[in-house]
């Protein structure tokens, strides 16, 4: 029987993400020197996503220390954002997280040079999200 889908960027989804990420040996290996928290944002599109949906993820030396829903003005070292349709493609493995930035499918605020030194860790962050059976806001 397939696992029940979890609402994208809900508290339950984020806890699941933290749990899987903290068991991801490849991520731990690639991010063992990483220090920096992220806000991931689904941009408002005026229809399905009325207000930006934001998630806070604290990443420290290969561990995911904290996850939470993020308030509109909340800051983090990095902010990675894009519209829902691109998040769906990302989680379907059809967009590479870095290539997605170059193709303007996503935007990144923060020290981009630092992110480029940890592209392998970035790929594992996405690979972890792919493992969660996700229900997107436009799904019934």
């Amino acid at each position: 029987m397939s696992e029940k889908k979890v609402d994208f960027f809900s508290e339950q989804w984020l806890k699941k993400y933290q749990e899987i990420l903290n068991k991801n040996a490849a991520y731990k290996d690639a991010a063992k020197d990483w220090e920096g928290d992220f806000i991931f944002q689904i941009d408002a599109d005026g229809s399905t996503v009325k207000e930006p949906a934001r998630a806070y993820i604290d990443l420290w030396h290969g561990d995911c220390r904290k996850v939470a829903l993020a308030a509109p003005g909340q800051k983090a070292a990095f902010e990675y954002s894009g519209p829902l349709k691109n998040w769906k493609l990302l989680l379907a493995g059809q967009i590479d997280p870095i290539k997605g930035l170059m193709a303007r499918k996503f935007t990144l605020k923060g020290d981009m040079g630092k992110v480029m030194r940890y592209t392998k860790a970035a790929a594992e962050l996405v690979a972890t999200a792919v493992k969660i059976p996700t229900k997107f806001p436009d799904e019934k």
Binding site: A30, A103, M112, G113, K120, A123
Partner: protein
């Protein structure tokens, strides 16, 4: 997904240099080169042509191998003093990379080189444009948006790219590579082959870069042995120059992979020459990537078919291709292991942790078709040191 294929205007063939320089518009040409290339008289020759067409010319010949940030800053300052409107880089990869990075600082002194990524605009070409004239046939930097610079403090090489770093003009003058010694001809030729092969299996590969790779592989196998066997064979030199340029176009638009992550780290930690470092990595990465990855093995098999290898099993074809590359290397006097390349066991063991750390930080690793962790990278280096084919 939307993508771009960026290449410079390329001039090649008889009288390429004179023909293009005579048409060039501008006032102040800054020729950036190194002492070795100065010794061959190429910058002087360019200067004479430009003087005949009313240009002011400055020659800066302080480029260093594996350029450090401090060296790049010196070049940028010299560009500023001369009110440069045209930068002409004459040399190998280090010279062209120095020119690209100094160009950025000349236009925007506030930019931190370490912060250059493919992701943000650099806003170049307000003060100057860039002309590249390679004197080695391998780097392909004259056709790429890539740049590799070394941190002063740590010695770590950081490779990055940005579409705006693609030169405006690349002049392929075969006469400028005829002085290349045998060893460097072999090293740089293997660099070109590595660019082409890695671009073909990169996760960012595309049809345009594939086309460049297919021609490059054919040309390198045909012309590199001739180029090394007879240093006066100008036709072979020109063909290798074109092959390197095509390989540059290929990887610049699709990226390199694990071989370059291993190679950049070898250059940073043990100061192994770039072409030697990536050339040694190439057959090992093919053997690693084709294992249990039928789609990747099939890509290598396509390249193998170009050099006469026909096997029904793609993985066997890929492994035969790696063997064929080793045969090519042997035929041009290329070492088959880090040990045979002169790296002492003590230096290797002392540097191994750093080698692994820097390779993991190299962005090319993400482009590799098969995942690898730090333990796998350590094993790759150990196999490379002894020259053992990869079996894991």
């Amino acid at each position: 997904m939307v993508w771009w294929f960026s290449v410079p205007k390329v001039i090649f063939g008889e009288d390429a240099l004179t023909t293009e320089l005579e048409q060039l518009s501008g006032k102040n040409a800054f020729i950036l080169t190194d002492k070795v290339v100065m010794g061959f008289g190429f910058p002087e020759r360019i200067s004479e042509i430009l003087h005949d067409h009313q240009w002011s010319v400055a020659i800066w010949d302080n480029a260093e191998p594996d350029p450090r940030v401090s060296s790049v800053k010196s070049a940028a300052e010299a560009m500023r003093r001369f009110s440069t409107d045209t930068i002409i880089a004459v040399g190998g990869g280090s010279v062209m990379d120095t020119a690209k990075a100094a160009w950025v600082l000349y236009e925007h002194p506030e930019i931190q080189l370490e912060a250059i990524t493919p992701l943000q605009p650099l806003d170049l070409r307000h003060k100057a444009r860039l002309v590249c004239i390679p004197t080695t046939a391998g780097t392909g930097s004259e056709a790429t948006k890539a740049v590799v610079i070394r941190e002063d403090q740590t010695g770590r090489k950081f490779a990055t790219n940005n579409a705006e770093l693609c030169p405006d003009i690349a002049i392929l003058e075969p006469g400028f590579v005829k002085g290349l010694p045998k060893e460097l001809t072999a090293y740089t030729g293997l660099d070109a082959l590595t660019h082409a092969v890695e671009a073909y299996v990169s996760v960012w590969k595309n049809d345009f870069s594939d086309a460049c790779t297919l021609k490059t592989v054919q040309m390198v196998f045909e012309w590199l042995p001739k180029s090394v066997a007879d240093l006066t064979d100008l036709q072979a030199r020109e063909k290798m120059l074109i092959a390197a340029d095509l390989a540059g176009m290929s990887f610049s638009n699709s990226q390199v992979a694990l071989g370059h992550s291993l190679g950049h780290s070898l250059g940073s930690v043990l100061r192994v020459q770039h072409g030697l470092a990536v050339g040694l990595s190439l057959p090992l990465t093919i053997e690693y990537n084709c294992k249990d990855k039928p789609e990747t093995a099939k890509l290598y098999a396509e390249l193998a078919a170009l050099v006469g290898i026909k096997k029904a099993d793609p993985e066997l074809a890929a492994r035969a291709f790696a063997k064929k590359i080793r045969q090519l290397q042997a035929s041009v006097g290329f070492p088959t292991s880090l040990k045979k390349a002169g790296v002492s066991e003590k230096d290797f063991n002392d540097g191994l942790d750093k080698l692994v750390q820097y390779a993991m930080m190299d962005s090319s690793i993400t482009m590799n078709p098969r995942d690898i962790d730090s333990g796998g990278i350590r094993k790759m280096y150990e196999y490379m040191y002894s020259g053992t084919p990869v079996d894991f």
